[in-house]
């Protein structure tokens, strides 16, 4: 022990984090052990004692906690129940965390054994569990198998005796396949055109493959719509089954859908597919699920994970069966045909005689069932024995004769032995026949069958009705009822009384007839009342009623009916209204309308007063008095109102006096002539005395007329009246616009508006350019000459052209252009000579221009002498410049 470390502190420091160990006790123990470790001690005891109590204490001190923990765990492991509880707690999460492949591997044998054991013990349990899973699958599979069988049977039958059939039978013999297989192979021609793989949950398209040459609309939309339709069918018919719609057929096209856990495979097939194809398509779907089940489950619209699926779908789309076109082995067929026809001939003969007898018996059967369908015939029994037919039963004598029914059935009557008992059928039609025979109903009664009851309808005397009633009572129970409640009793008295009542009610509805009383006694008819002489004649109303006039005794008193139509008749008869008056009834009043002389109106008024109280009112207020004076006054008023409506005429006053008419007022000279307006008014012009003063109307129409006359606007200007204002629109030369403005100012004083704001100055840009060109042109002369030199000819030619164009364009714009030719001279010589020479020069140029086609009236001429020199004349050049003719352009 050479170390200087304090042994007491060492364990205290190193285990300072361990609170559980009693450090002080440990330190003391260690020191004690250290002290005892000496050679003597060792010698005395001859080795280390096997059970030193201090070692035990040391052990307790160091590992007591671990020991207790270890014993708890040991105990847990030793006690199976506790261990089971503990493992059970962690088993589910342990299984969940285990690698799927390994766990499956480990569990598979155990699960297989467990299932095997379960089935051995009680197969029922597992069956119950799997029942809901397998049943739909089994059902579907069986269904398909049956469909497959039927399909094969159908096709086999369809082709068995055809030319194809023979061909295929031979092929079956050659290849060793069954005949039905060969038939299916040839008759089921189909092609899968599209395959859609659709995500079941969202209806999104996972993949789509198309056969060559097949087309369709956007597959994404189709796929969604297909699943919408699936949902629709499922919802609409409350179908809970997993599978959904599995076949849709549309003509040549079929949609088959196979439903998997995550995706649905829809194949679009053209043609006639074999049922076995279902299985092939289902296999493809299964393979897709096996390969990419995780990607399918997690599909969220991103198809990139599922690119491999397309290859699988492609195998689906490649499925098809096409018509084969192999050559036909003619020789073999010919041999087979000969053999077949020999065998067939023998078979046919024996078959034919059996067939004939069969047809005969079936004819007999048809006859029996025809009898059974006959009303009134009951077939009790029938049989065929030794080529003879026996039949027995009941028949109503009124029913059809069984014997006569035989004819036309081709059954030989000689071979038929029948036994019929008569009976009375209770079928309504037979009862009806018997009733008709026994009761002999009159022609007015009709018997018919309604709802198995016999109903009599119509009219009959009471004696017949009594007999019918008795017959109804005697009808057998169980038979049809006989209803005679709809037969009317028509004994002669009743009929007479009915006719009389019809006549009386006809009289009562007649206006002007009042029936006071009426009665029937001993076959005689009595009637009394009031009648208006203008009303219908009661006697004449009798005709057509079938009432015997000889038996009618009537007593009528005349009276005046106050009904409006009778009053109207009487008024018409007494007043003789003229043609111009119309009498009518309006709301119970009599109204007279129209025109009549005052004498007639007076008479009508008197008649109205005389009308009885309680009768209708007679209104003559709407009849106009038509005395000649009144009429001519009316015509005059019409003429005056016509004048007043005339623009430019103001009627100041007018009167009618002593058959003459006086009128005075103002008229614009541009307005219509009042005299001319008289014609057609029926006013006698000789009686009209008119006094008219002229004035200038401020009516815009008249103002426009005057303006047009005074301003003479150019063609390019339009004057119009807009909402009472006169508006001038268009292009005009500045001078004209100025004149129009002046006129507008004058008019505004009178309150008339002339709007010139929309006038624009004539566009003279081009003209201005020409004008400039013309005005800067000068024609020069030699000293003392009045004719320009030959060098001026091109200048004159150009000038003439320019003047012609200018004049023409100006005219188009509604302006007249004039050209002033001013002659000039130099200052050499006398002033008078210079003046005349300048005028002569201007005249010469006018003549030269005229010669070049310029109209002479456009050209004005003046001589300016020396008074308007172009340049100051102090040089020779100056004087030659001043010898010239200048041109100015004027527009007006």
């Amino acid at each position: 022990m050479t170390s200087t470390v304090d042994p007491l502190n060492l364990p205290q420091r190193t285990a300072s984090n361990d609170t559980e160990v009693d450090r002080e006790a440990l330190a003391r123990l260690l020191i004690e052990i250290a002290r005892n470790v000496d050679p003597d001690y060792r010698a005395r005891f001859d080795g280390v004692p096997t059970a030193d109590p201090r070692m035990e204490t040391l052990r307790q001190l160091l590992v007591s906690r671990e020991i207790s923990e270890l014993s708890r765990v040991t105990h847990l492991l030793d006690e199976p129940e506790q261990l089971a509880t503990a493992v059970g707690d962690v088993l589910p999460s342990a299984a969940a965390r285990a690698s799927h492949a390994q766990l499956g591997e480990a569990l598979a044998p155990a699960v297989e054994r467990a299932v095997q054991r379960s089935i051995q013990k009680s197969p029922r349990t597992l069956t119950d569990i799997l029942y809901p899973v397998f049943l739909p699958a089994i059902r579907k599979s069986i269904g398909e198998k049956i469909d497959q069988t039927f399909q094969s049977l159908n096709e086999t039958l369809r082709h068995i005796f055809t030319w194809h059939g023979l061909k295929w039978r031979f092929e079956a013999w050659r290849t060793g396949a069954s005949f039905s297989e060969v038939v299916l192979k040839h008759s089921l021609v189909y092609r899968i055109e599209h395959a859609f793989l659709i995500h079941r949950n969202s209806g999104l398209l996972i993949a789509h493959v198309t056969a060559d040459n097949a087309t369709s609309e956007d597959p994404q939309l189709i796929s969604s719509m297909l699943s919408a339709i699936q949902d629709f069918v499922k919802d609409s018919f409350n179908e809970k089954e997993q599978s959904g719609l599995d076949t849709i057929r549309f003509g040549e096209l079929r949609l088959w859908s196979e439903v998997g856990p995550f995706a649905t495979l829809v194949s679009v097939i053209r043609g006639n597919p074999p049922e076995g194809l279902h299985e092939i398509v289902r296999d493809v779907l299964l393979r897709i699920h096996e390969e990419s089940s995780q990607a399918l489950e997690q599909f969220d619209g991103d198809g990139s994970q599922l690119a491999s699926v397309e290859a699988q779908l492609q195998t689906c789309v490649e499925l098809k069966q096409e018509e084969s076109n192999e050559g036909f082995p003619w020789l073999v067929a010919a041999v087979a045909l000969v053999l077949l026809s020999l065998a067939g001939g023998w078979y046919f003969l024996s078959w034919q005689s059996a067939q004939r007898w069969q047809a005969y018996v079936s004819r007999w059967q048809a006859y029996v069932s025809r009898l059974e369908a006959q009303p009134g015939i009951i077939v009790a029994e029938q049989q065929v024995r030794d080529g003879q037919f026996y039949i027995a039963g009941l028949r109503d004598p009124l029913a059809a004769d069984p014997q006569s029914l035989l004819s036309g059935t081709e059954v030989d009557p000689a071979q038929v032995h029948s036994q019929w008992q008569f009976y009375e059928s209770l079928e309504p039609e037979f009862v009806l026949k018997r009733l008709t025979a026994s009761l002999v109903p009159p022609e007015t009664v009709r018997l018919s069958i309604a709802n198995d009851r016999i109903v009599a309808e119509g009219e009959a005397p009471d004696t017949w009705i009594d007999r019918a009633r008795a017959a109804a009572r005697q009808l057998s129970a169980g038979g049809p009822e006989f209803d005679i409640s709809k037969v009317r009793d028509v004994s002669p008295e009743v009929r007479q009384a009915e006719r009389w009542q019809a006549y009386v009610s006809r009289l009562e509805t007649q206006p002007g007839i009042i029936v006071a009383e009426q009665k029937i006694r001993d076959g005689q008819f009595y009637i009394a009342g009031l009648r208006d002489p203008l009303g219908a004649d009661p006697q004449s109303l009798l005709s057509g009623t079938e009432v015997d006039p000889a038996r009618v005794h009537s007593q009528w008193q005349f009276y005046q009916s106050l009904e409006p139509e009778f009053v109207l008749k009487r008024l018409t008869a007494s007043l003789y209204p003229p043609d111009t008056v119309r009498l009518s009834i309006v709301n119970g009043r009599i109204v007279a309308k129209g025109e009549a002389p005052d004498t007639w109106i007076d008479r009508a008024r008197a008649a109205a007063r005389q009308l009885s109280a309680g009768g209708p009112e007679f209104d003559i207020s709407m009849v106009r008095d038509v005395s000649p004076e009144a009429r001519s006054a009316e015509h005059w008023q019409y003429y005056v109102s016509r004048l007043e409506a005339q623009p430019g005429i103001i009627v100041a006053q007018q009167t009618a006096r002593g058959g003459h008419f006086y009128i005075s007022g103002l008229r614009d000279p541009l307005a219509a002539d009042p005299q001319a307006l008289l014609s057609g008014t029926d006013v006698d012009p000789a009686r009209v005395h008119a006094q008219w003063q002229f004035y200038q109307s401020l009516d815009p129409k008249f103002v426009v007329k005057r303006l047009t006359a005074s301003l003479n606007p150019p063609k390019s200007v339009q004057l119009s009246i807009v909402q009472g204002r006169i508006v001038a629109v268009g292009e005009a030369p500045a001078g004209w616009i100025n004149r129009a403005q002046a006129a507008a100012e004058q008019l505004s004083a009178d309150g008339v508006v002339l709007d010139v704001s929309q006038l624009s100055e004539l566009n003279l840009a081009e003209l201005n350019y020409l004008r400039e060109a013309i005005q800067t042109t000068d024609i020069f002369f030699s000293s003392g000459k009045v004719v320009p030199g030959p060098e001026q000819t091109p200048v004159l030619d150009r000038l003439a052209d320019q003047i012609k164009v200018f004049a023409q364009n100006a005219r188009k714009s509604g302006v007249t252009a004039r050209f002033m030719l001013t002659g000039h001279s130099d200052t050499t010589g006398r002033e008078t000579a210079n003046a005349s020479i300048s005028a002569a020069r201007a005249e010469t140029v006018r003549a030269l221009l005229n010669k070049r086609g310029v109209a002479p009236e456009l050209l004005l001429v003046r001589g300016a002498g020396t008074f308007e020199p172009l340049v100051p004349e102090n040089s020779l050049a100056g004087s030659s410049t001043n010898r010239r003719v200048s041109i100015t352009v004027n527009l007006d």
């Binding site: 609309e217 956007d218 994404q220 939309l221 919408a228 619209g301």
Partner: protein, 164 residues
């Protein structure tokens, strides 16, 4: 190819069908709406990094919420709620339809289109109401089938939301 199933919901005659008519690819006639109760259209939206095909299930508009075929919404990733801005009641209908869908299939992203914004004089939904919904973080667009206003923006936004 990235596709997402989107359902368009809204009351009767809010203009769902006419709203999308000019903006989508369609091969089915509108009679599907009245017969099958759904019509399917496709709207391709180009995002900066990819193109999304929105497969639009236009469900027949019903004011009677009871007859709404909720099963058509299965597998949808987003909703388009359509409201008629001139009939305040259609807002309530759209919200109720959304609640029904959420109750059945859980929350999913959606946009709310308030349609007929061209009929300003008959407008019946107040700005404060719209603001309140916007404060909930909802994406709301005032659209017009007549002028096409905001329709493309709305689909673009929805495409962003469903591909996030």
């Amino acid at each position: 190819m990235l596709q997402k199933k989107i359902c368009m919901l809204g009351g009767f005659a809010v203009g769902k069908t006419s709203l999308v008519r000019r903006f989508v690819q369609s091969i089915f006639s509108e009679t599907y709406l009245t017969t099958v109760g759904v019509k399917i259209d496709k709207k391709s939206v180009a995002l900066p990094d990819k193109t999304v095909d929105l497969i639009l299930w236009d469900l027949a508009g019903e004011d009677d919420i009871g007859s709404f075929r909720v099963s058509y919404v299965r597998g949808a990733t987003g909703l388009v709620l359509v409201v008629d801005g001139t009939r305040a009641a259609t807002l309530a209908v759209a919200l109720t339809l959304r609640e029904r869908v959420e109750a059945e299939f859980g929350a999913m992203p959606f946009i709310l289109l308030i349609n007929k914004s061209d009929l300003a004089d008959r407008w019946a939904i107040s700005d404060s109401e719209i603001d309140e919904l916007r404060q909930r973080g909802w994406q709301i667009y005032l659209t017009s089938a007549l002028t096409g206003e905001h329709v493309d923006d709305a689909f673009h936004q929805l495409a962003l939301m469903v591909t996030k």
